[in-house]
Symmetry: C2
Subunit: 382 residues, 2 copies
């Protein structure tokens, strides 16, 4: 294992709960958006908000940086176009509410924001928003248009995921040592931007990202992170934004290699691909959420023979699995030959398997044999 991590001490000792610099920058961008609209009205022109198109038609795989990226196409949301008027009004309302939240120096959930902007327009029966499904995409529009992050708009989404191992972070003035968190681990917050979460000290050699919390608990109980001087991190299924951003920061800022272990099925492979190159939906921030240098340890269907895993713990592929596997073969980011080989092997043998299947070889097989062999010999998928 490389030893780049050991003994690194981060400089930032002073704890801040919020970065005034970023708040000012984002507030200024929100104000500019509003001032633009006002000056267009003053000039008696049709008010127009320019937004990047966030759809498949404007997505590409950046072969150089190895992430999914948003293209240059934009759309115009104008007030006097009847098809746009409602969304135009909502965009202004959401932007104004975000500015208010930042000024009050509070954080709120995207559901709270929905309730905060919901009202009946005076003299009408019309509500500003009817459902949260209307306000959520407006938030992403504003994020993409202002080149900012939801977290910097003081909005939080769902959080999940845990970390254990030799890292100390500072959060709102509290020092949290993830090597002293018992059976819980450090719970990853919604917002892990550097204004909120400071890395104080880290001596780990790498990060092991584990799809499932039950497997994480198994490895934490065996103190895998202590014996192998690493961080163990779980996203509990598809990782939330905060978890993906944390993996990105651990790699970028602390130079830690990232290894992923997931189920040997199409969802496990997809979770890995989202950690690695980002998602189509949030393509405008793949550089902040994706970690293209991540490697896949396993599980693979080829491990069944390699590790003599009993066949009766494999699960037969269903129609959905087969269809999805064929889709994966067509994604440009699954084109490395090792992935084509694995997916074709899965289709050929007709089964998938979950991480827990390794327990058929004994409760400690994963921590004492499987992971040490794979990581020791660098048996990774790209």
């Amino acid at each position: 294992m490389p030893n780049k991590g050991r003994g690194r001490v981060m400089a930032e000792k002073k704890a801040e709960t919020r970065s005034e610099g970023i708040d000012k920058l984002v507030t200024r961008r929100l104000e500019e958006m509003g001032k633009n609209v006002v000056s267009q009205i003053d000039a008696q022109r049709n008010p127009d908000i320019i937004l990047p198109i966030r759809a498949l038609s404007n997505i590409f795989f950046d072969e150089h940086h190895k992430i999914i990226k948003l293209g240059n196409k934009v759309s115009h949301r104008t007030y006097l176009n009847v098809a746009h008027t409602r969304k135009f009004m909502q965009t202004c309302l959401v932007a104004a509410e975000c500015k208010k939240i930042i000024e009050q120096n509070v954080t709120t959930s995207i559901r709270d924001l929905y309730y905060a902007v919901k009202r009946t327009i005076p003299g009408t029966e019309e509500n500003t928003v009817e459902e949260q499904a209307e306000s959520d995409p407006i938030i992403e529009d504003i994020e993409a248009a202002l080149n900012t992050l939801r977290e910097q708009l003081h909005l939080v989404a769902d959080r999940k995921g845990y970390v254990a191992g030799p890292i100390t972070v500072v959060d709102a003035g509290d020092e949290i040592d993830a090597a002293r968190m018992g059976s819980s681990g450090w719970a990853i917050p919604s917002n892990v931007e550097s204004e909120i979460i400071k890395f104080k000290e880290c001596s780990a050699d790498y990060v092991l990202v584990i799809e499932k919390d039950a497997v994480w608990q198994r490895l934490n109980e065996d103190k895998f992170w202590k014996k192998n001087n690493c961080l163990i991190l779980t996203g509990k299924g598809q990782p939330a934004r905060g978890t993906r951003r944390l993996i990105n920061r651990l790699h970028r800022e602390l130079k830690l290699p990232v290894y992923v272990i997931a189920d040997a099925d199409v969802w496990g492979y997809y979770i890995y691909s989202v950690i690695k190159q980002g998602s189509i939906n949030l393509s405008f921030i793949s550089d902040r959420l994706g970690t293209p240098e991540a490697k896949f340890i396993g599980l693979t269907t080829q491990d069944v023979n390699k590790f003599n895993i009993p066949k009766n713990v494999t699960i037969k592929l269903n129609k959905g699995d087969i269809k999805r596997a064929q889709e994966l073969l067509n994604y440009v980011w699954f084109k490395p030959k090792e992935w084509h080989q694995e997916i074709n092997h899965m289709l050929q043998v007709g089964y998938k398997l979950e991480l827990e299947a390794l327990s058929a070889k004994g409760i400690r097989f994963i921590s004492q044999e499987y992971l040490p062999q794979k990581i020791g010999n660098k048996e990774f998928m790209p």
Copy 2:
């Protein structure tokens, strides 16, 4: 607020990761179960395992202790009854695996256990278990039959939920101060039995249980627990077993009053009822998971007029809501007149509302007005 909690210091300073006493007790009970079967075979009798019936027909509401309880009816699972043979075999297999896990001094998930007992019976095409849905109820059978807990069988279920406030716990030798956990809080582990989680120190006056994590994050950011000297705890929806057990221990051992805040809808009311008197499914451990002295703060549909909440943030009841509300009216534990009044009021006005609806009165309305008024004046539902 009563001040019973302040300055209490718990005696147990020595950290243990596992209690040998309980391991021995549970192992002995598992062995007795196995020895019974063997002695029946030796005596050439039909092997018979006696299990409590865990169904509606054997459930009652204990009016004295105010919890849902399991009755005295038992069933016989016998080997030579063809309808029982498969389950008999599975019961023996799961019990043997639990004994092995305790002896190895490890913890495993219920999914791991499923894989550990799954195999093809030699010379046949028959598997011992086909799906996890077969092994999960067997675990509950063994828990109920041996008067033990899943956690004491070293099995973990899903975990979720967080705590912040003035309490220090010891977990596997690590001291965790829930007042120093930044924006995360202390993540509640799967197993919070006293062998694993020791309460070291706690100066809180009460526990505020919050249905939703987003609201918990709002209150944590405002340091509600500091200003009000309490613990804030969220179960993220319906609390997991570990979270319900922790609430029970905080009340029983630290004498903390428990107040619950949830959505004003049938699911919020049901979540409260499970925290308070336990669930039908896990009725055999209601005394360990339920907290009958818990009080409901709100939200109620009657709060809409009381706090002048704008009507446009209420949500119209659907058919499922109405049907479920009528069911709640029939449960004996919803019979206090305040609950009948509230549920009938909900049906009459025809709406429900979520905690986030309070944001329509301002982002800090919940922490600065709603909760202080309700708790200060003890405006609770029973």
